[in-house]
Symmetry: C2
Subunit: 315 residues, 2 copies
């Protein structure tokens, strides 16, 4: 259960008086998300999600909310933060930083088809392009510095094979960091559970709380490693072609991106293996129930290393 902070209807009704969204009709906790407390909020004017930020650094919140507002303004189907009467997107509720955002339609698709992957690829490219004119800056909080800090803390929990894999990949990535790639705001966590589909159309892209500024190709690699692989980590060629082709048709990849693709897929695999190792071996209180098995991304990383000379790319 991810409702860390209890909000009553009465508290919320009072809080909503600072907004222009009408009066409260229904309040319902959401049992998902590990960083925040989330509620579905229905008012006389619409359907919203209330988020209380439990752990994210307060200084980073304006970047996330501003990015969502910016992308929504450009027609990206993402949560649009609601401004209060003082025109602020960020407020306080129950002693926590809090935001009200629009609730999007649709449901997650955990067994995506190539068609779903094409929708995701095209939308990701649109997000990258729309994000170019966003003024906010926040270095990807799961970038190289985070890797250097996090790896030594999980190494003691690993067997020798996994220690060598982790140390070797950190070393490889630090020596092979691609240079000169296009960058901008990236979602950085566009997994299947963060995309809502209505029939075969994307109704919403959610959870921007791992977003940051990084290379666009890193975002493609993160997305690819989730949408285009089987449960065993192997690539599905049809989904891979669909996602990459649709992205490319909206925002053509560059020659530099083609060259960097094998390294980036490994970097994306490493990032999630490392965070899952950390969450698994060093859980925060009450969080163990959410920890994903780190082994999946260990396999993904090993397979991307194995596949490095025969990876799918656009035609």
């Amino acid at each position: 259960m991810s409702v860390y902070t209890k909000v009553t209807e009465r508290e919320l009704g009072d809080w909503l008086k600072a907004y222009s969204v009408g009066t409260l009709v229904e309040l319902k906790g959401i049992a998902a998300g590990i960083e925040n407390t989330n509620y579905f909020v229905t008012t006389t004017h619409g359907r919203y999600v209330l988020t209380l930020f439990e752990r994210l650094p307060a200084k980073d919140l304006p970047f996330y909310l501003g990015l969502m507002a910016h992308l929504a303004r450009h027609g990206i189907p993402c949560p649009s933060p609601i401004a209060d009467r003082a025109n602020r997107l960020l407020s306080t509720l129950g002693g926590k930083p809090a935001a009200l955002v629009t609730r999007l339609p649709g449901a997650v698709v955990m067994q995506p088809s190539p068609e779903h992957c094409a929708e995701v690829g095209a939308l990701l490219a649109d997000m990258h392009i729309a994000g170019q004119s966003y003024g906010g800056t926040l270095e990807n909080p799961r970038g190289p510095e985070w890797r250097r800090e996090t790896a030594p803390r999980v190494l003691p929990f690993l067997d020798e094979h996994r220690q060598r894999l982790l140390e070797g990949e950190l070393e490889f990535q630090s020596r092979n960091r691609p240079q000169g790639l296009q960058h901008g705001p990236v979602h950085a966590d566009l997994f299947r559970d963060n995309v809502l589909f209505e029939a075969n159309r994307i109704g919403g892209v959610v959870d921007f709380y791992f977003a940051g500024v990084d290379t666009w190709l890193f975002d493609v690699a993160v997305t690819f490693n989730d949408w285009c692989v089987h449960a065993d980590g192997e690539i599905d060629p049809a989904r891979a072609a669909a996602l990459l082709g649709a992205y490319h048709s909206v925002r053509p990849f560059t020659a530099g991106e083609r060259d960097a693709w094998p390294v980036m897929l490994r970097a994306a695999g490493l990032r999630f293996w490392l965070s899952r190792l950390y969450d698994f071996h060093l859980p925060r209180p009450g969080e163990l129930v959410h920890a994903h098995d780190p082994e999946h991304f260990r396999r993904v990383l090993e397979l991307r290393i194995r596949d490095r000379h025969r990876l799918p790319w656009v035609q």
Copy 2:
């Protein structure tokens, strides 16, 4: 038919490349609206309305689009203008200023109940409050100056009774203009055909192209004269109580507004009688089919004059 400017799927497909809304799925002309050409546009990312501005002064368009964007950001269910890749809300298509806005759900309710009127009253108050932090300025383009310019042009078409009514009311309004009332951006045309309901909930408020800065009470009076009257212009007490009570519960009326209410209802009646006289007697080419019968608002004005000492107000 209100499609003055023909847009082909090919032209629109090219134009949409400057946006992040995906690719064109369907384009369909809308036979409504007398100031603009409107199309329903469906893309792979969502449903939009494309508006080509045929007659509105170009200098006023940023006020309208900025106001809609501002209100949408505050949770008001109104069309949200989509920014292009250059982050602009206003573009050009077919040689006309053009904007793409979100399409809202719902359908108009031409026989409103008191419950519908309560929704409208509450939303109007929310719009006024949310609009307070909007920085744009545009004097109501159908204000006193417009009245002075327009009246002499329609007077020659009227019989003696109507001439006396019009001249008398212009004189009365110029002598009795309420002072010191709260003001801000107002919709100024919140008639039944500009509100979309989904069941009994407002899905959208549309057509902000008569908006401007004026007193909030004027906006209430315009809305009241449409939502709370019968076809013969007489007030429906139940709908009147519902609309005014709901507005008041969100944004309490002031003593000054109570005093100004009879004058303002007459001003609102005069404004629409005058514009309908103008559109009826001096139609623009191809527009006659849209002209409303001016007599309805002549009756509304006369009845508000007759009722001036026994008008509904909040308890």
